[in-house]
């Protein structure tokens, strides 16, 4: 690909970008949120029509006008966001658009999917409906979709965001096999460790351009990180270290980690015997007890699909509580409408920010107002005081460094990292008593990740009780004062800072052992 440019209105997503992919290599594509990685790959896959530029395959110029053309050229792509028909079963999603018979064909396809998932360690039940699956399983389906089709060029746009470490290892092993069959892979990720582990060459993008391409052998974690961040990695703070995915786990306390604050006497958040059902009405959280004090960060570890979503939503007052109590500062909120939880000072940063976090078509300003529209500070004579709202939005945009064409731009067009900043800004501006975060740095670049960590620390220092639900053990080890492990909707173990052992936690997460509870 060369000379590729693409603008979306005022946004110049790609400026004369290029990329060269050799046969049989795994090519890493890294860069900050909004650097243009996805756009470039979408152009290659025929989803975006470039303003200019050309694509050559084996030296011959090709015109990719649609994904169909790309598929015919042997290009496959795992998209950054899940693209599934949620009412379809896994096998139906996988075979979409391919040829084959009727129901009989589906049976054969299900067998093939079974084989593929065995071979590549991507366990899914081909017969399950996709909307009943965990995010991780759905991510695996996305990969299976591409593997099922086979391809000469495989584009993986942040395929590991929702995978467990074991699954990542499995995926990498299979990528090796695939590459051995002369297929080329483009691998997009924000995780330095992953990129270094699998890629042969790495291209770094910034501001719609390819900055440089380096050989794997010619770089190391720090070097790559500084390239990605765009500044020399001089400061060796713990945050950067964590962002790099280094250290922390396995080494006990993270280097330079602050001492755990003394456990405050009164717990701000108390959860007793919490029972929550999932969307299908099946209990997903069975009798969880938690207590989080002021200024404490409680980490909740676990493999996706073990009740995290249900727990998070119940703690945020979004999902109905079927049994037990949740109290904030002594007041029981269970059963109350969401707005009462908000009033009690609960703030929630949901996992799926596009779906649950923002009003995509509404402006950034309105998104910042969301949830506070009834608060006195924005009202004058019973009416919304848009001037104040706007003013506040402007200062918030500055304070949280939200990159947007303007306060009136639709939030849905922001890059993922900036959407996350927006969601965090909204949560923090409420001065919450309790903060519930789920996978807050998923898919974020290094800089944004560090930003999130800083904000969490700030909140903790202000006396907020923080519940951090994450699948990323590094992140938990760095931030949490205490980690509980959720397995099958139950708390199966607890560790305090200084006692974090990746191996032991991993076994708890896998449900291999269970501690008395």
């Amino acid at each position: 690909m060369s000379g590729v440019s693409k603008s979306f209105g005022p946004v110049r997503a790609l400026v004369d970008a290029d990329l060269e992919l050799a046969g049989g290599e795994v090519h890493g594509l890294v860069g900050g949120n909004g650097a243009g990685k996805t756009t470039l790959m979408n152009v290659l896959y025929g989803l975006y029509r470039p303003d200019s530029g050309e694509i050559r395959v084996d030296g011959r110029e090709v015109h990719v006008r649609s994904p169909r053309d790309a598929i015919d050229l042997g290009i496959g792509m795992v998209h950054q966001h899940l693209l599934q028909v949620s009412t379809y079963s896994v096998v139906e999603n996988v075979v979409l658009g391919t040829k084959g018979g009727g129901t009989g064909g589906l049976r054969a396809a299900a067998r093939r999917i079974g084989e593929l998932s065995d071979r590549f360690g991507l366990a899914v039940d081909p017969r399950a409906r996709t909307d009943r699956l965990s995010v991780g399983a759905r991510q695996r389906v996305e990969i299976l979709k591409v593997l099922y089709r086979g391809a000469r060029v495989l584009v993986l746009d942040e395929p590991t965001t929702n995978l467990t470490p074991q699954e990542v290892d499995g995926l990498f092993a299979s990528l090796r096999e695939i590459v051995a069959e002369a297929t080329s892979v483009v691998f997009i990720s924000h995780k330095v460790r992953e990129v270094l582990a699998i890629c042969d060459r790495i291209s770094v993008m910034r501001d719609g351009r390819r900055l440089t391409t380096v050989e794997r052998s010619a770089t190391d974690a720090t070097g790559l990180a500084s390239l990605m961040v765009g500044e020399p990695a001089t400061e060796q703070s713990s945050d950067v270290a964590a962002a790099l995915g280094l250290g922390a786990v396995g080494g006990g306390a993270a280097p330079g980690a602050e001492p755990a604050p003394e456990a405050s006497a009164a717990a701000r958040l108390t959860v007793a015997g919490l029972v929550v059902h999932n969307d299908q009405g099946v209990p997903a959280v069975h009798g969880v007890d938690l207590a989080v004090g002021a200024g404490e960060v409680l980490g909740v570890a676990g493999v996706a699909g073990n009740g995290q979503v249900e727990l998070a939503e119940a703690l945020a007052g979004v999902r109905r509580v079927h049994g037990g109590a949740v109290s904030v500062d002594g007041a029981d909120l269970a059963g109350g409408p969401t707005c009462r939880w908000l009033d009690a000072g609960v703030a929630y940063v949901p996992e799926d920010r596009h779906r649950d976090g923002i009003l995509g078509a509404a402006s950034v300003t309105e998104n910042l107002l969301l949830g506070s529209q009834r608060s006195g500070s924005y009202r004058r004579a019973g009416l919304l005081d848009w001037r104040r709202v706007r003013e506040h939005a402007r200062t918030t945009i500055d304070r949280y460094e939200i990159k947007t064409p303007g306060p009136d731009a639709p939030a849905g067009n922001l890059s993922g990292g900036n959407i996350q900043r927006l969601v965090l800004a909204r949560a923090f501006e409420r001065q919450p008593a309790v903060l519930v975060l789920q996978n807050p740095t998923r898919g974020l670049d290094l800089r944004s990740t560090r930003f999130v960590y800083d904000r969490v620390h700030e909140a903790r220092d202000r006396g907020c009780a923080v519940v951090l639900i994450s699948e990323d053990l590094d992140e938990l080890s760095l931030l949490a004062d205490r980690i509980v492990v959720l397995y099958s909707g139950r708390v199966v173990g607890e560790r305090s800072r200084g006692d974090y052992d990746a191996y032991a936690l991993g076994r708890l997460m896998a449900g291999v052992v269970q501690e008395g509870s």
């Binding site: 979306f8 896959y45 989803l47 975006y48 029509r49 649609s66 994904p67 169909r68 790309a70 598929i71 015919d72 792509m77 998209h79 693209l83 599934q84 028909v85 949620s86 009412t87 379809y88 139906e92 999603n93 075979v95 979409l96 658009g97 391919t98 040829k99 084959g100 018979g101 009727g102 129901t103 064909g105 979709k145 995509g360 078509a361 639709p410 849905g412 067009n413």
Partner: protein, 309 residues
Amino acid sequence: MNEFASLAQLTVVAMVPFLLASLGTMLGGLAGVFSVSQEGVMLLGASVGFLVSYATGSSTVGILLAAAVGAVFGLALGWATTRLRLDQFVVGLALFFAATGLAGLLYRVVIGQTATTPRVDTLPRLEIPLLSDIPVVGRALFSHNLLVYLAALLTVGLWFFLYRTRAGLDLRSVGENPRAADSLGIPVVRTRLWTTAAGGALMGVAGAYLPLVYTGTFTEGIVGGRGWLAIALTFFGGWRPQFIAAGALFFAAMDVIALRAEVVGVGIPTQVLLVVPYVATLLVMIFAFRWARVPAFLGRNYDRESRTA
């Protein structure tokens, strides 16, 4: 028993225009395009179906041309909403107006002002040998005009196509998640175009059914709200052929029963009897709402390069 057979037969005859129009609505809707021009397209189908039958003496030609004109209107909806990405609702209403106007205009141009109503022979009844001799059922099910049998075959055929073939799977994915479909090389635009065209054709035939089965001639009020009802019945049937057929059957049965009560004279005001089918349908919905799901992307245009659409 005999009375039951005759009521059943009337019911079957009455359900067909709803069934055809709803299946047409469903077809486009499963690919994500929501049509609201049924009432107009049906009227146009009735006009064209009648006029062509009248001019050529062949009701087959009339039905085919009604289908063709309906397909053109369906295609117009598909084209305007995929290629130009105009709002589906507004385009549908505009096409409703256009088709309604055109229907009357055509009749005016071809027939003009006459003292006597022109008419054609209605479709003959085709008794299916043997089957039509079965008591009660034979009369109710196997003694009908050709369009009734075709509608039945179509319902089964569509069900099979949509739920038992890969092409059907692909088609439905376009209405559920066009982005996912697109990313797998399923032609979203082309799917929407052909389904709206085919759906329009069905609406056209549903319209032609009215003069060619019920009246033998065209009048302005011949559709009488059946197009709007077809929309409601499509929702009632949860956008699936088998339930749509059930819904159409139920509605028609209620209608025939209410009509029966009126004719027999049960001392209930006409108006009360006339609302029976509508109210009954609503009541059933209270218990049956679970089956009524709607294609996730229904009514929305897909823009490959936009994130907000």
